[in-house]
Amino acid sequence: MEGVEIAVQAASEDEAGLVERLRHFEERAWNEIYDTYFPRLFRYLYLQTSSQEVAEELTSQVFEEACNRIGTYRYRGSPLSAWLYRVAHNRMVDWRRKRKELPLVDGDSQPDMADRVADRDEIATAMRELTPEQQQVLILRHVEGHTSASAGGIMGKSAGAVRSLEFRALATLRRSVSEPRK
């Protein structure tokens, strides 16, 4: 299960060494984190933007920023993945802010194809009724497999606050979700 995998990775003593190799711009180290995290961050961003194109662009930006910032990144024991997800989170917040501003410029409010496709899915539609933070906590916990503490590290919240958000989100979703297919 991914949650277990991430927890194991967080505890890995190799993490500090990997960060050092990244700081020295070792190509193999960068390829390693790219291969591990590009698919995950892409999925994480896709689920919150509903657009493959946007998710691709934002995921690429995450790794560019990681290259630019690794020199000032300090390993303090929390997993590198939390930092990458944090960078992704900030990119998404920027994207959301700019998207809000766009209609003032061109008035274009037509949803993209991915939106319409996702709308067919009951759970995807129900997720849209949640606040962005509730959506994020469910995706981090149940899609990306983060623990409450790890999700809290990414979102800047305590594990308790994450559990509270998760409870509210699931309580809202339960009204919208029918029995799953067996």
């Binding site: 790219y34 590009f38 790794f63 989170h89 920027d94 933070e133 899609v143 409870f167």
Partner: protein
């Protein structure tokens, strides 16, 4: 969360942990029969969320290739820019400029240790004077401090929610954890306290926005942190004319009621267009003090289109 929700919440945490260890929903519900119905629905909802991940498209191969190319380009650019290995230089005041000197004073007063790789980050408290996506300026008792906002910077509001830097309201009280690197000061964490107009009364601030309406001596601006009410008086220096749809830069002071008394307003343009004060299409405007008839706002009229700059645009540019 009431008592029942608290009880349900604890049971949910236990059940989720059981499911995460590989048990079925029914197995996880054993021992929670009194709230099983509600829990089951929530556990099934969590399972449904997991299906979103399974149904999400994989990163397209071409996208991955393009992304990898961009990452390596950035890596090579960093390698090229890299000078001698940077090592920590002990905190010094000489040559660091007034902002850093002010911060040093804060550190002494706050009994915070000097910067260093083995020490906790420094902390500064003050009133937010201005922000941009890349930087924050706060006024402290010892002087003004500017810190870069980088991707790692965490910005949280008074409720602990993560917000974008642009959402910080000028005049808010903030606590900033800082560290120094070769480019200067950067913010690790910015905590914004709940808005308190009294606490920030008189604080000098600066921000930009688009005029939504002009009513008498009161402007309403749309800004990145929401709408802001700006008061103009006879001492306000206005560079240009004020009308809905224009983008402005406001320098002013926070009032007890949370409005801003402008000392200076710079008209920057209309959605990227140059300022054309003479071509106002008959719209009502607040005349600039520089136009020779400063007054105290009596020149302003209700445009009749408050909150609808788009309509103003249509009518003003026919």
């Amino acid at each position: 969360m009431n008592a029942r929700e608290g009880f349900l919440g604890k049971a949910l945490v236990q059940c989720l942990a059981t499911v995460e260890r590989g048990s079925t929903v029914d197995e996880a519900l054993v021992g929670h029969e009194d709230v099983a119905e509600e829990l089951r629905a929530m556990l099934l909802a969590a399972q449904a969320v997991r299906t979103l991940g399974r149904n999400a498209p994989e990163a397209p191969r071409l996208a991955a290739q393009r992304g990898r190319a961009r990452m390596h380009a950035a890596r090579l650019a960093q390698l090229e820019r890299r000078g001698p290995t940077w090592s920590w230089i002990p905190w010094r005041i000489v040559g660091l400029g007034s902002a850093a000197a002010a911060l040093a004073a804060v550190l002494v007063l706050a009994e915070v240790g000097p910067f260093g790789s083995d020490t906790a980050p420094a902390q500064a408290q003050g009133i937010v004077s201005r922000t941009s996506p890349d930087a924050i300026v706060i006024n402290t008792a010892q002087g003004q401090i500017e810190a870069r906002i980088v991707d790692e910077t965490l910005v949280v509001d008074g409720s602990g929610n993560v917000i974008a830097a642009g959402e910080i309201v000028p005049g808010s009280r903030a606590t900033v954890e800082l560290e120094e690197d070769e480019d200067g000061l950067s913010g690790l964490k910015i905590e914004i306290e709940d808005e308190d107009g009294e606490a920030a009364h008189g604080a000098e601030v600066e921000f930009g926005g688009t005029v939504l309406s002009v009513q008498g001596s009161t402007l309403t601006l749309q800004t990145s942190f929401g709408s802001a009410v700006v008061i103009v008086d006879s001492s306000t220096e206005i560079n240009g004319t004020l009308a809905p749809g224009l983008t402005l830069r406001v320098h002013g002071a926070v009032q007890p009621d949370g409005t801003y008394l402008a000392s200076e307003i710079e008209v920057e343009g209309r959605e990227g267009e140059p300022v054309q004060p003479e071509d106002n299409g008959g719209e009502s405007e607040y005349e600039s003090a520089d136009d020779g008839d400063s007054g105290s706002g009596s020149e302003t009229q209700d445009t009749g289109h408050e909150g609808d700059p788009a309509k103003q645009d249509e009518e003003g540019h026919d």
